[in-house]
Symmetry: C2
Subunit: 407 residues, 2 copies
Amino acid sequence: MMPQFLEDGHVTTPGGWRAAAAACGIRRAGRDDLALLVSDTPCTAAALFTQNKVKAAPLLYDQALLARNADGIRAVVVNSGIANACTGATGAAAAARTARTVELALALPADSTFVMSTGVIGMQLPMAKIERGIAEAGEHLAANQGPAAAWAIMTTDTRPKYCAVRVTPAHGGAITIGGMAKGSGMIHPNMATMLCFLTTDATVSVPALDAALRQAANESFHCISVDGDTSTNDTMLALANGHAGQPTINDITSADGRAFLAGLTLVCQRLAQEVVRDGEGITRFVTIKLQGATSDADARRAAMTVARSPLVKTALFGADANWGRVVCALGYSGAELDPDRVVLHFNGLKVFEHGLPLDFDEEQAHQLLDVPEILIELDLGLGPGSATVWTCDFSYEYVRINAEYRT
Amino acid sequence: MMPQFLEDGHVTTPGGWRAAAAACGIRRAGRDDLALLVSDTPCTAAALFTQNKVKAAPLLYDQALLARNADGIRAVVVNSGIANACTGATGAAAAARTARTVELALALPADSTFVMSTGVIGMQLPMAKIERGIAEAGEHLAANQGPAAAWAIMTTDTRPKYCAVRVTPAHGGAITIGGMAKGSGMIHPNMATMLCFLTTDATVSVPALDAALRQAANESFHCISVDGDTSTNDTMLALANGHAGQPTINDITSADGRAFLAGLTLVCQRLAQEVVRDGEGITRFVTIKLQGATSDADARRAAMTVARSPLVKTALFGADANWGRVVCALGYSGAELDPDRVVLHFNGLKVFEHGLPLDFDEEQAHQLLDVPEILIELDLGLGPGSATVWTCDFSYEYVRINAEYRT
């Protein structure tokens, strides 16, 4: 029973979830920049946070909250525009106060609200504006406002990213998993300025939810690269409120656990790919399928090195079947490699084998690659390890966006 | 006694060295694309080769040659245009035949000639043209042809890179160290499409020359980054012919050894910086001086992570005092870090301290950074480790060059 995408599904499609957005005017007037996600009942929670040693204030708040109340979460509040990173004690107080404001406004228990922020770093949050926004959003919570929430959390994103799937457990009935994400620049494994929110009406124990989230992340957000930078605010959060009334999932290797994991992974992959498709300055979406590595870890290492090579990415921008830069990136990836065994295809055209390039028609290859979707297939010919990762090309526009971002 | 740069010094400024260039027409007619470097007497040799697992044919040839005859080297032949990488058995035979052609033309012993190639990969060398070029160059060897050799080895380089220093040993007299390099794209530690040739008239034992080369590389070519890619052909080669008649340097910690090492390091640093200054699409040369790390290795790691961050590099292109991207890169570098202790200056302007940005004037900072040379000073405030690395910004032009390189 494969999980199925729901048409127009979003983060509050699962039962017992409501959302709202508000325009606080944090950095720009007239656009929604605050989102509220609320569950009717307490949720179990799991989260993954940035590996960056510079961690934003809300992230530190959430880490501590997760440690003390992983099964009593009711809400998430997110603002865009300001990341509340590198903001010292003032920023830490602002994160705590934001959570408390939500709890008071919605009459929720203390310690039931996660806080997240995304945007420029080093600026303090305008708390009066945030508080007004929370009050306003609190009055408009509705089950159909998931898409509005996804719009409100955007920064340099050009479009919202959300979806939902339906999963059929072994014993009948249905559970729903929804999600939304933001992020376009600074995307790399370990998650860059990337926020991902996953909601479900399944009943999932905290350990099982944590295991499912980690595994889904490994198959999705840890397989993408836009530019190799990682940020201070990245968070991936899963919340399960049990509204569907299904038996509790305690083990992701059980039949229901596997079904749930498959659904969660599907949502995460869709969102991760959407993040890449919205990569800053992207002109081509690139899938790298690598097999024949000595291990899955080696396969991931090799594929990700190709995915983040600026020389590979600029060649793809130029629709250049530059097998040399791909093979070269494999060579410095640290993965086990015998160049004579590597086989490389670009969009189905074999260009490299037995340590040598094939005598292909450059102009024909250029036409084959001058398209929005590129598939790079690599076989290292050494063992059973495989990985699929997603990246994008590196264009003039990427440089322009990032040279002008703050000005 | 500090080593002194010699005005107009080059790779054949040291005694007993001659060079010549020739136009073989390897990929383009009418430009020199072959260089010959010859010592009047046998040299000791040391070399560092790319860490890339895909190694070009000449590099494999040289590794084997170095292993069997590290104190009997007489010549180096270098071609540009074609890298002789990913060329299989044909390429291996071509490298060996190139060396043998030099040895026959100049009546040198067998196994006395290094071979190097740089340019596009996957193409076979046109051996008839190479052989004619060697014959021609062999007839024009002269001590003043070092600059011509430096021109001949260029690929996407926009200018030749060469220099020489004079070193005064403890016991009087003088030794000279010359060098030339090529490389502009794919530059990163472990050396990208980068070739560096170091010549001296000092007498240096093989182990001492090897130790000196490794240490000089650590302070120079291993401290630069243009785009983070590393290539199949990188080689750094040092040859010492003893023409100056000074006592043999057996130990780089002796007085003469230290003097020699200081001179070699100075030449390598000048050449490495020239490579960065000629980085593809560079508009700003960036020096990152980092101190206060827990170790020198951590300092190097942190500084190089900043140096290769596309977000930092695009910000520098935009003359944006983007402390956030620098601090963020430190955070994911893997180096020990306490953000609250970091102090960051851009061109002398303090922008970050105590975990917080300072309230500096953005427009003034922009003007301060809208210059060809940028100094980023970082103090991690943790320990005695320090490192200095050099990099460049990331411009539209970088993308253009690399999207169009083969077409």
